[in-house]
């Protein structure tokens, strides 16, 4: 995979050379794409990827006659569970799918990896880095950058579609997870899960309100912006964009001597409140829209000036007017990168995004755009009904782009990804399952079963796919993992602490530690010299290994001894409330993964029993008081458990010959259909 793309980073916004470079790359890719003539093969393979579709739920809904198109497709070929990755987390699973290899080769083991130098977590699949300040010149309040930042896709290996493209076979792979920035080469693909918003985050919404909470900064995944009615029925406020590294702050260009204090980028916003009706008019830049209470807007372009008139960061945003009176509540989506001119690439080649947007309109470029954070926040920013409405808007957009792709699809491979079912099942499991600790009878009565609705919705997509599939075409519907209820939480760091494998510094309160740092002093709260292992990420346990970790305490000689001992003890742990063992499998990386990409692998990967999941707190270096607790959050379904507990699905109009199909087999299957020999590094085998 061509992993690095020198475009921009969010800390160093599109310096001139990178800007020129972007244009140059666009031109080159146009040449490349025009120059790479595709040849007809007489074959068509359509893959519909549905994140999180679960075989048990498919069975359940099918037995009630709710999925006629699934049933039809199954009758034409096969329906089997599809073995997911270890652990069965989406970035890992989709990387298995993309490369046809195990994580030991592609190098992705969790949503979150850790830096052994700092014990800090970071998002695993991509890295964006600004150019060092040495590569810039400050002239007064302006900064000139001589070098651009770098966005790097951390998935190692070659995506299977690249082999098709190299052989002159038409292919399109749209919005696939673990593909940001999109893989280079001659293949056409778009990035999905893992694609940041314009701020470089996984999604930061803005909530404009005249009744802000006491501590608005504590909201994860969003910004609360208090609005002031300075004139009658008029709010004047602003959107805050990415830090403008092309300019220094007007009033305080430097902090503490010579530390640059970069300017904010902002776009002023005026909201006129209708004095009588529950409606507003919103004005910013060239946009003017009227919105009634309870209404969602379409996409609106927004541009943050960086070095006007030459440079700016272009995004798109949509609003939801929740309430006008007595409190004013206006939700604005995370600002997505504008597909017509994204500050960072969202497709390869870049014109692929432009082509989609020109034919289908603006679309969500941010990965996982369903704003579960706005629902999770205690402020009722989006309630269950509103979140579901947003999912429907996203799905409508996906449907439109899917159909447009189908119209273009005459030969070769089309892969299309749908993500709403996954996030919907995470959030609405508690309305599907009355035994869940967070079951909400009020919303269940109001909404019915949203999970069922999402499956029915996907069945219609399969109906569309079937209509467009000829007798000689191959249709594969597949998912990356299944689902389970998340009833109880297991905090591995608390377990390690209570079992003497991890020690805190003297006097440190375990409940005042995060990222292994003592919140009072800002220093490490963990005594690394006496710590043998620590947890980070949703399923990972790392040995504090000498020579690898900054303050390693376990010698390479003792390493396996500790891995084996801790793995065994974790599997023996019994939930005192139920007598159940929460951990089914404690997979040791030295016997689980094969390959050269083990640098970031946890030493033990926890595979939970259905019903349990690793705690958010432990995942980020915290030590809650209880090792096991009830999960009462709206994030109520999950799949970060043992791989065998949550297989995905494969439904196809072909007969599957392989006994236990797995995600890693799909790529080699596609290659074999087109007569391309399986590359040596792929671990999977053809299914048909």
């Amino acid at each position: 995979m061509s992993n690095k793309k020198s475009f921009s980073s969010f800390g160093r916004f599109i310096p001139p050379p990178a800007f020129v470079m972007a244009g140059l790359l666009l031109a080159l890719s146009l040449v490349a794409s025009c120059g790479t003539k595709t040849k007809p093969t007489g074959k068509k393979v359509l893959i519909v990827g549905i994140d999180g579709m679960d075989p048990r739920l498919v069975d359940e809904f099918m037995s009630r006659g709710l999925l006629p198109n699934f049933e039809k497709l199954m009758s034409m070929g096969d329906f089997k569970p599809l073995t997911s990755s270890i652990p069965p987390q989406s970035p890992v699973a989709w990387a298995n799918f993309i490369t046809g290899t195990n994580p030991g080769k592609h190098g992705i083991f969790d949503f979150i990896h850790r830096d052994p130098d700092t014990y800090m977590p970071y998002l695993s699949t991509s890295k964006t880095e600004g150019a060092p300040e040495d590569d810039s010149i400050a002239l007064g309040k302006r900064v000139i950058w001589l070098k651009g930042g770098v966005a790097e896709n951390k998935v190692a290996g070659t995506p299977f579609w690249e082999y098709l493209a190299e052989n002159g076979i038409w292919e399109r792979v749209f919005k696939i997870p673990s593909n940001f920035p999109p893989a280079g080469g001659v293949g056409w693909s778009g990035s999905g899960m893992g694609t940041p918003d314009i701020l470089g985050t996984y999604g930061t919404f803005t909530y404009f309100t005249d009744n802000p909470p006491e501590h608005p900064d504590s909201i994860g995944g969003g910004t609360i912006t208090p609005v002031y009615m300075v004139e009658e029925n008029v709010f004047r406020t602003k959107f805050v964009g990415p830090t403008n590294t092309w300019a220094l702050d007007e009033k305080r260009p430097y902090l503490g001597g010579d530390k640059r204090n970069y300017a904010d980028s902002e776009v002023p916003l005026t909201i006129y409140v209708d004095p009588e009706n529950p409606a507003v008019k919103i004005e910013f830049q060239d946009n003017e829209l009227v919105l009634s209470q309870g209404e969602w807007s379409g996409w609106l372009p927004i541009k943050f000036d960086m070095f006007p008139p030459f440079l700016g960061a272009r995004g798109i945003v949509r609003f939801y007017l929740k309430e006008v009176r007595p409190d004013f509540k206006l939700y604005a989506s995370p600002i997505n990168m504008d597909p017509l001119e994204p500050p960072m690439p969202v497709t390869n080649p870049p014109e692929y995004a432009v082509e989609v947007a020109e034919n289908c309109g603006y679309y969500y470029t941010q990965g996982m755009p369903e704003d579960t954070k706005a629902r999770q926040a205690d402020l009722d920013i989006l309630n269950d009904g509103e979140l579901f409405q947003q999912m429907m808007l996203i799905h409508d957009e996906d449907k439109k782009i899917f159909k447009w792709h189908l119209d273009q699809f005459k030969d070769g491979l089309l892969y299309y990804y749908f993500g709403s079912l996954d996030l919907g099942t995470h959030m609405f499991w508690r309305l599907h399952d009355p035994s869940h600790p967070a079951y909400d009878p009020k919303w269940a009565k109001k909404m019915g079963d949203p999970v069922e609705k999402l499956y029915v919705m996907m069945d219609k997509i399969i109906g569309t796919a079937l209509e467009r599939t000829g007798p000689n075409d191959v249709l594969i519907v597949m998912s990356d993992h299944g689902f389970a209820s998340w009833d109880k939480t297991f905090q591995v760091n608390s377990w390690l602490l209570e079992n003497g494998y991890l020690r805190l510094e003297k006097g440190v309160d375990r409940e005042k530690v995060a990222y292994f740092r003592d919140l009072d002093s800002g220093k490490f709260g963990v005594d690394w010299s006496r710590t043998m292992a620590y947890g980070m990420g949703i399923n990972g346990v790392y040995i504090n290994k000498l020579g690898r970790e900054a303050y390693g305490a376990v010698s390479p000689v003792e390493y396996r001894e500790y891995v084996d001992e801790i793995a065994e003890k974790l599997m023996d742990y019994v939930d005192p409330a139920t007598g159940e063992k929460p951990i089914l499998v404690a997979a040791k990386s030295y016997e689980t993964y094969k390959g050269d990409g083990l640098e970031h692998a946890p030493d033990i990967v926890l595979g939970f029993k259905r019903g349990y999941r690793g705690g958010d707190e432990s995942a980020l270096g915290k030590f809650p008081k209880e090792i096991v607790s009830l999960n009462k959050s709206s994030w109520s379904g999950d799949h970060c458990v043992a791989t065998r507990e949550v297989p995905g699905i494969i439904v196809t109009n072909q007969k599957i010959r392989k006994q236990d199909p797995a995600l890693i087999d799909v790529g080699p299957t596609v290659l074999s259909i087109f007569g391309i020999e399986k590359p040596a590094q792929m671990d999977g085998e053809p299914l048909f």
Partner: protein, 61 residues
């Protein structure tokens, strides 16, 4: 509780807008404004940047 000196003029302006902005007191408004400012400065630090990015991940609350 520590006290901070500000000019009478600024205090009057803050008082005027605190009410309009829905804050229950000048103290609450000032605390919020400072918190926001400090968090922006913290945002320049790479560790804080990492934390902010992780906050958007639905899997972690």
């Amino acid at each position: 509780m520590p006290k901070v000196k500000i000019s009478k003029e600024l205090f009057a302006r803050v008082k005027k807008f605190a009410g309009m902005a829905g804050y229950s007191s000048v103290d609450e408004f000032v605390s919020h404004a400072l918190e926001k400012e400090v968090s922006q400065l913290e945002g320049a630090d790479s560790e804080e940047e990492i934390k902010k990015k992780l906050q958007g991940l639905g899997y972690i609350s």
